[in-house]
């Protein structure tokens, strides 16, 4: 794990696997999954572990990350309900994934999806399509990391608001998670939030709740 304060309660109750079932890939009723709850802070899988399952977020938020050689944590992506993760073309996971909040994931065996993909071109196309979505996301993320702190934080807020379809966001992640995602320190993230609030671009009713007041100002502050 990362070099931070002690991890919170970690459990993964195998008995709580419900029999809830849902199709992960459209048009392929044979591909069903099992939904599993994870507590906030739980590691869902680790870098270099064999990629046994694909996951779909049903409830809550998870993030994928890598630990850098200097011990810092680089968050690659936050996954919200509806997002698919764990989709590696190689046999091992390239990143670690953990639950940012309490969440429920739908899992399906990777080996089954792969064998279905051999005879069903539509499933094969979706594997490709999900990977391409991740690729676009990774490239946009890289693009973010060369911009100023203001731009990074503004982009993060607008992007998160868009993905959660709300102007009034309840942030599931900590300042540290945001800082690790944006390649900044928590102090810089915090100061930038404060500046946006002081310029009336956002409201901060609590530290985890953000109301986007002036979308244009956030776009404009990107200077």
């Amino acid at each position: 794990m990362h070099p931070r304060p002690a991890a919170p309660v970690q459990y993964r109750d195998a008995n709580s696997r419900s029999s809830q079932v849902s199709s992960l890939f459209f048009g392929s009723p044979e591909l069903v999954g099992t939904s599993i709850p994870y507590a906030k802070g739980t590691e869902i899988y680790g870098e270099n572990e064999p990629a046994e399952y694909l996951y779909k977020v049903l409830r809550g938020t998870v993030c994928s990350y890598k630990i850098l050689s200097d011990g810092r944590r680089q968050v690659e992506r936050f996954y919200f309900p509806g997002d698919v993760l764990g989709l590696e073309a190689g046999s091992d996971h390239q990143s670690s994934v953990e639950a940012v909040s309490d969440c429920t994931l739908l899992i399906v065996k990777r080996s089954i999806v792969l064998s279905v993909a051999v005879r069903d071109p539509e499933v094969a196309r979706q594997l490709w399509s999900y990977t391409a979505t991740e690729l676009n996301s990774a490239r946009n993320h890289a693009t973010l990391l060369v911009k100023s702190a203001h731009e990074r934080v503004a982009h993060f807020l607008l992007e998160t608001a868009r993905r959660l379809s709300a102007n009034d966001i309840q942030l599931p992640m900590s300042r540290q998670d945001i800082a690790d995602y944006l390649g900044l320190t928590i102090e810089t993230v915090s100061r930038t939030f404060t500046q946006f609030r002081d310029h009336a671009a956002i409201e901060l009713p609590t530290s985890r709740r953000v109301v986007i007041r002036d979308q244009g100002a956030l776009g404009f502050l990107n200077s």
Copy 2:
């Protein structure tokens, strides 16, 4: 194009399309390509243009990039001989691509590859596999962009040496290209090269030629 000095000679001689032919995807002799030469500095395709072809580098170097809102250019990746590019899952290109040096590319119609993929699972798997390679590359690139200038330049040198399978590298790209790839300025790239030379980690016989002397020092200077 990007806000830089005038572009050099740009041509794309349609008549020079040779009849040379080669299989792009193994095991699918129906997928053959045409090789086309591009002069240094030529744009091969632009962001948001329809993705009509897939490309494989036969000779020379190309790079993909995006132009940021502030006018800066962010280079996403350098492609060397053997690399495949232009592989978008959507119908439009997500980045621009230009010839870093004079080069020859093998092109094949995207629509043909896609239709073959529907009936040939192996071709479908390769589409996915190439995209996954790009994804890993993009994530590693993002990881680079949060490190120090020393680390970025050292990583660039080691990575380039590895990909070109040589400790004595003839750099096809300018300092500006490297700076845009690493999210630094040309001055910082230049100074860092000089520091590596002064610490005997590399030799710089000419500005475009780098000999890796002390691979460990480059890894270690990452501090």
